[in-house]
């Protein structure tokens, strides 16, 4: 009896093993594709940044940090990115919070993310025409408006998801135990929604500093963002410095992704389809 069971279990084990080996082969074409077209380009970016005249050097880095205007652009972008992100939290949190309490909230959240699917250049241009029609001069203010307008859906969506998944009995328990609504919010709801805020921050901050085109259309003549200057460097064939700047951008991406392991860009799309 015992050997029979052992036999059967061995058979099952070998079958599972076989089917795993045969099936993982299906991933190989894509793994190869990833190596070729995702990893290799990044390696070449690194090579471009560190190799000058076929020799390893930090010349490109030195050039970047000595050129005051590039560093200024980076600082300016970080500042704009922080302001935009904070505004997105301040304006988007109430929206997500209110909608998480409504029974029709899920449907109305869709209305907030629908514009995301209209090409961002079109939305940016129509905000620009709007400002021009009412006579507001383009500058830092209009740039921040445009960025918030473009990226706030990315903040509302993860916030709404987290807020609606919070168990209602927590705040009910808090008020049963005598906490007033404000206390309940700051002691229960808000701390539990922090993962949503974090993922919203990564979804807004990184695209904001690395965007290009939005600042060209809405920033007037003076406000360029880091994405614009990367693009300009490559347009002027300055591949070395351009690569250094891209790597700095990549470092920001990796840092923010370290804090927020899972990005919700895919989730935004999945919610619609």
């Amino acid at each position: 009896m015992g050997t029979k069971i052992k036999n059967i279990s061995m058979k099952i084990a070998s079958r599972i093993k076989n089917f795993r080996i045969t099936r993982s082969v299906f991933a190989y074409p894509y793994v190869l594709f990833l190596m070729m077209f995702v990893i290799m380009p990044l390696v070449i970016l690194l090579i471009n940044a560190f190799i000058v005249n076929e020799k390893f050097s930090f010349e490109n880095f030195a050039n970047f940090f000595n050129d005051g205007s590039s560093v200024d652009t980076l600082m300016f972008s970080l500042l704009i990115g922080i302001i935009t992100t904070v505004l997105c939290i301040l304006l988007g949190y109430p929206v997500a919070y209110i909608l998480s309490k409504w029974s029709s909230g899920r449907l109305i959240v869709l209305l907030f993310i629908l514009p995301m699917w209209v090409n961002f250049l079109i939305r940016t241009l129509s905000t620009r025409f709007m400002f021009e029609a009412i006579g507001i001069k383009l500058g830092v203010g209009t740039l921040i408006f445009g960025l918030v307008y473009n990226y706030i859906p990315f903040m509302i969506l993860p916030l709404h998801t987290t807020l609606s998944n919070i168990d209602k009995s927590f705040s009910e328990a808090a008020s049963d135990l005598g906490a007033n609504p404000i206390n309940t919010f700051f002691k229960i709801t808000f701390p539990l929604s922090i993962p949503g805020i974090l993922s919203g921050i990564t979804m807004v901050f990184i695209p904001t500093i690395s965007t290009f085109a939005i600042s060209q259309f809405l920033g007037g003549t003076s406000s360029h963002l880091f994405g614009d200057s990367i693009n300009t460097k490559f347009e002027h064939q300055l591949y070395g410095v351009g690569s250094v700047m891209s790597i700095i951008m990549l470092i920001f991406v990796l840092i923010s992704n370290y804090f927020m392991q899972k990005t919700n860009k895919g989730e935004a799309a999945r919610n619609l389809w």
Binding site: F19, F33, P41, R123
Partner: protein, 274 residues
Amino acid sequence: MVNASHTKKILERSYIIVALILLYTPILLMIIFSFFNTSAFSFKNGFSFDAYESLFNSSNSKKLEDALKNTIIIAAVSSVISTILGAVAAIGIYSMSKRSRKIVENINQLPVINSEIVIAVSLMLFFVTFKFPAGYTRLLIGHISFCTPYVILSVMPRLMQMDSNIYEAALDLGATPLRAIITVIIPIISPGILSGFAMAFTISVDDFIITQLNKGTTTGIDTLSTYIYSSMHTAGGLKAYWFAAFSLIIVLVVGTLLLINLRKYKSKAHIKIQ
């Protein structure tokens, strides 16, 4: 007390309404002024369909048509390839050992988290270094490389939810592994494949930065986004017909998505009631 909660409700409702109005104002203005044949938001030319007519008979109609064709061809080809590549890969990744699976999933995540400008310039350097033919080849490879991760991300959850005994039952009943995959696994994960395809298509249509940097200056290939961008930079700014084109795009996109989602929402509500 009743009064306080009442005012709170009104405040909440008005906040949502004001936010929605703000969000949709630029879009609605675009549509309204597309009927006033202007290149700025003004009523001075009077109500007309001239902007819409000029879509078909202005000197730029040919270029606009080409850009639309390119956008659709590139999106269709790259999303079909991404869907096949991604769905097959997802089945493979699902049955990998835990460690290699984690590695592949992390690499797969790279194009999703990475900033578009970094993807664009790294691809450009790669294509230049290895002398890939300029034009469609570069664009298609680029689009496939940032669309496929989304297909995998939408197929994987379906595979995880699947009861793996079903596949083994098929094997026990005499199906070959390939047949079991085609007749058992694929139908189960097909909703994930479908939504992955839809995501890949829309992401490809929407892409601007990666297309702009990899289309090449001499090929003359433009998609709608890059054409909008370049015509914004030509002297005199945007022509009136762009307003008409934008309005059509907006109505098409928002209308389609709203319809799909309303239907989904309704059927879900229906199930709940039952």
